[in-house]
Symmetry: C2
């Protein structure tokens, strides 16, 4: 019984990977770099994006795919930046899916103007577990970890922290008001994903936003170099 269950899970992940590769082929054909951006609910992904791509990022044309169980609050916010934003809701069926998978992203591809983009940032559903389990055809995965969540989160949700090549620590402005040990958080991140790049940010004060913009630009250039 248990074995059957594991087998079903493996089949589902195999199917997901097949569709993720098809997405990747489409992104490659259009020369679009794709970032899968993940976090717990309320860690500040949207506010960080408003800060990081609110002004043009060099010559890089950026669009966003917004994953949410329900509603279009974040997409509406980002649309005011005058960039292409596509909403993808996971709320069909029972209570809604807690993550984006390759097939959901695929179903939204015809609504994304890929030929007008150099970079697509996919804002995943707020969740520290399942989004890390499903590739969507992205070039890179990054996560936002709010300081308010406490220093133990890397140890409790290790797959998420391991899956990402960048961990943005957000809400640094709240540090004086929290009983959270930043050094311990950094230590725990490094313990589950040794050497992973971290950027300390505050979407409120702007701390670290330039560094995040540089990282995004570098990610876009990485693809250009790979092709050259």
């Amino acid at each position: 019984m248990h074995r059957t269950k594991v087998r079903v899970v493996e089949d589902a992940l195999d199917a997901n990977n097949t569709i993720a590769r098809a997405n990747r082929d489409d992104f490659d054909r259009h020369g679009v770099t794709v970032l899968n951006l993940m976090s717990a609910p309320g860690a500040g992904k949207t506010t960080l994006l408003e800060r990081a791509i609110g002004e043009p990022l060099e010559q890089i044309r950026v669009g966003v795919l917004e994953g949410d169980v329900q509603g279009s609050i974040d997409a509406d916010r980002l649309a005011t930046l005058h960039i292409p934003v596509t909403q993808l809701n996971t709320g069909n069926g029972f209570g809604g899916e807690c993550h984006l998978d390759a097939n959901m992203v695929r179903s939204a591809l015809d609504q994304i103007p890929l030929d007008q983009l150099d970079m697509l940032i996919v804002e995943n559903v707020g969740n520290l577990v399942c989004p890390a389990e499903f590739r969507i055809g992205e070039d890179a995965r990054a996560m936002v970890c709010s300081l308010t969540e406490g220093e133990d989160k890397p140890l409790k949700y290790p797959l998420m922290f391991r899956a990402c090549e960048l961990v943005v620590i957000n809400k640094l402005d709240l540090l004086p008001h929290l009983e959270v040990d930043l050094d311990k958080l950094l230590y725990n991140i490094d313990a589950v994903n040794p050497g992973v790049r971290t950027i300390q940010c505050s979407a409120k004060t702007g701390l670290g936003v330039d560094e995040l913009r540089e990282w995004l630009a570098e990610l876009a250039h990485r693809r250009v170099r790979a092709i050259a």
Copy 2:
């Protein structure tokens, strides 16, 4: 294809409900009131519990079942309160399950000293989506919503807010340092679950903890009255 998928989901939920009823029978037989406590990661469930049940709750004997993908950090913290704490990890298989279901709780029942308890608090995996979809045989569901998560969360995760009969708003001490509108959060909670009870708390300062203790005691008495 779509229809098949929905059918599989319905079957899974039917199976879950059957097992939840079996759990409920066992809890009833032992006269144990069960609370399913949910939240996003880092909303402060464990710290609130340390505050709320750190001192004896009238004559009510309380135990905790700790749900986590991995590790036993929270269980270790609560064990210092000298109450029965049982750890339940969901990390088998691939990246771990993002919620507790009735069968997982059932698998832990023989490790919980039900005959020594009047109330069992189940601390679910930190996630605002799937935990609300799976009954575990509980008497009541409550959630902790951290003020830091922003006022839009009820609109983005409505099932979770609708599933609960109590919404604890935590980290009120941070209000002066946040750009969050508390009135708007309360309005949004009431919009998705009209009339639902809310308690404003700060696990740090102790604000609202007495009110939460009263609510927990009332929950335990509700069962006694139902039997009498």
